[in-house]
């Protein structure tokens, strides 16, 4: 009986560590950058944000898509090399009664872009995904929001930078923003 409980506990631990493993940042490599932002999915048909990708525009590459890590609405990815990028796609699973198992939202080809010229921490902003259109022609809008902002986003992901050089960089940024040290 005891053994069953121990096995079950180990399984839960294993699952939990599996979930957090893909959120843990890898060590700062070369002169690269950390890019992050926040997407509120509360008004979207998806129940949470579990996918977010960027498209590398420059330098040109055959594999331009970068899948970001996600945690509680924050999308982030460390070790991004210098270049030009555009937001590409994001999504999340539908709820229990939802008509789709996963919802994808695509940004248009001419969506906003950003350039990483110097290594550092790049905050893309906080946004809210809102339903638009009609039942027969569903669409979505993304609008900027003020809260949660950069500080709150860093506070959410700081735990996944532990033991890496990113931790120090994020702590310094938090201090600049008036957050915890």
């Amino acid at each position: 009986m005891h053994r069953t409980w121990i096995m079950a506990g180990l399984l839960v631990l294993l699952l939990l560590s599996g979930c957090s493993a893909h959120r843990a940042m890898s060590e700062l490599d070369k002169a690269n950058s950390l890019v992050f932002g926040y997407m509120d999915m509360e008004d979207s048909p998806a129940k949470e944000l579990t996918a977010f990708s960027l498209k590398q525009v420059l330098p040109k590459t055959d594999k331009p898509y970068w899948n970001m890590r996600t945690y509680e609405g924050v999308f982030y990815l460390e070790n991004m090399p210098p270049g030009s990028y555009q937001v590409n796609q994001f999504g999340g699973p539908g709820g229990f009664f939802s008509s789709a198992s996963f919802y994808w939202f695509n940004f248009p080809t001419q969506s906003e872009g950003f350039r990483i010229s110097n290594p550092g921490i790049y905050y893309l902003g906080s946004f809210k995904c809102k339903k638009a259109g009609s039942f027969f022609n569903p669409k979505f809008d993304v609008e900027p929001i003020k809260s949660p902002g950069e500080r709150e986003s860093i506070e959410k992901i700081l735990q996944y930078s532990t033991g890496t050089k990113w931790e120090n960089l994020l702590q310094n940024r938090l201090e600049q923003l008036g957050g915890r040290k």
Binding site: K60, S84, Q110, S111, E112
Partner: protein, 197 residues
């Protein structure tokens, strides 16, 4: 391997869409093709910097000649703006303008508007160029020059600069070499809809 069904699907959608687009404004090869109530519209489109090799991924797709290295200028005799992506019906009377080449297309003698430019990068990936231009035509015209539409772009296909360049001397030389000097190519540069009187 997993991409193949997706590609085939995109190709089918592309074929269906292009089939619904209808005919463009015909290219004029001889002045004899121009009826009494018609004119030749002469112009050019430039993209700075130009498309790079591989930026348009239309290789091995049937019927893409109309799109390759070309900007589709969607036109209409009525001014309108688009709330959403233009549909196949909006492509009737389009000008298929090859980048960096002078085009000579047939038009009725009624003034028209260049609503927007459309560039196909892939079967399901288009970018839109600003236009909002009016082309004025006089009943006595046989041929008009509307200018060079020069688009300055960045890597995100945003256009920080859009100009109508007067390159009449070159257009006239090409017009004469193509059609002879019997007909006058009148300069009537396209004007921004905001500037029209």
């Amino acid at each position: 391997m997993r991409r193949r069904p997706l590609l085939s699907c995109a190709t089918l959608i592309f074929l269906a869409l292009t089939a619904c687009m209808g005919s463009p404004r015909p290219s004029v090869e001889s002045i004899r093709d121009v009826g009494e109530d018609e004119i030749v519209v002469v112009g050019r489109v430039e993209l700075v910097p130009p498309l790079e090799k591989g930026e348009q991924k239309l290789k091995n797709m049937i019927g893409t000649g109309m799109l390759r290295n070309k900007l589709l200028l969607l036109t209409d005799e009525q001014w309108r703006t688009f709330e959403a992506e233009p549909g196949p019906g909006d492509h009737r009377l389009r000008i298929e303008a090859p980048f960096d080449e002078t085009f000579f297309v047939l038009s009725s003698k009624r003034p028209f508007y260049i609503l927007v430019g459309e560039l196909w990068l892939e079967a399901a990936d288009k970018v839109y160029f600003p236009a909002g231009l009016k082309v004025n035509i006089r009943p006595t015209d046989r041929a008009i020059y509307i200018g060079t539409l020069r688009y300055q772009r960045d890597e995100f296909f945003h256009f920080p600069k859009f100009q109508i360049i007067d390159d009449y001397a070159r257009a006239q030389a090409e017009f004469r070499s193509k059609f002879g000097d019997r007909y006058l190519l009148r300069k009537e540069l396209a004007v921004s809809v905001k500037e029209r009187k």
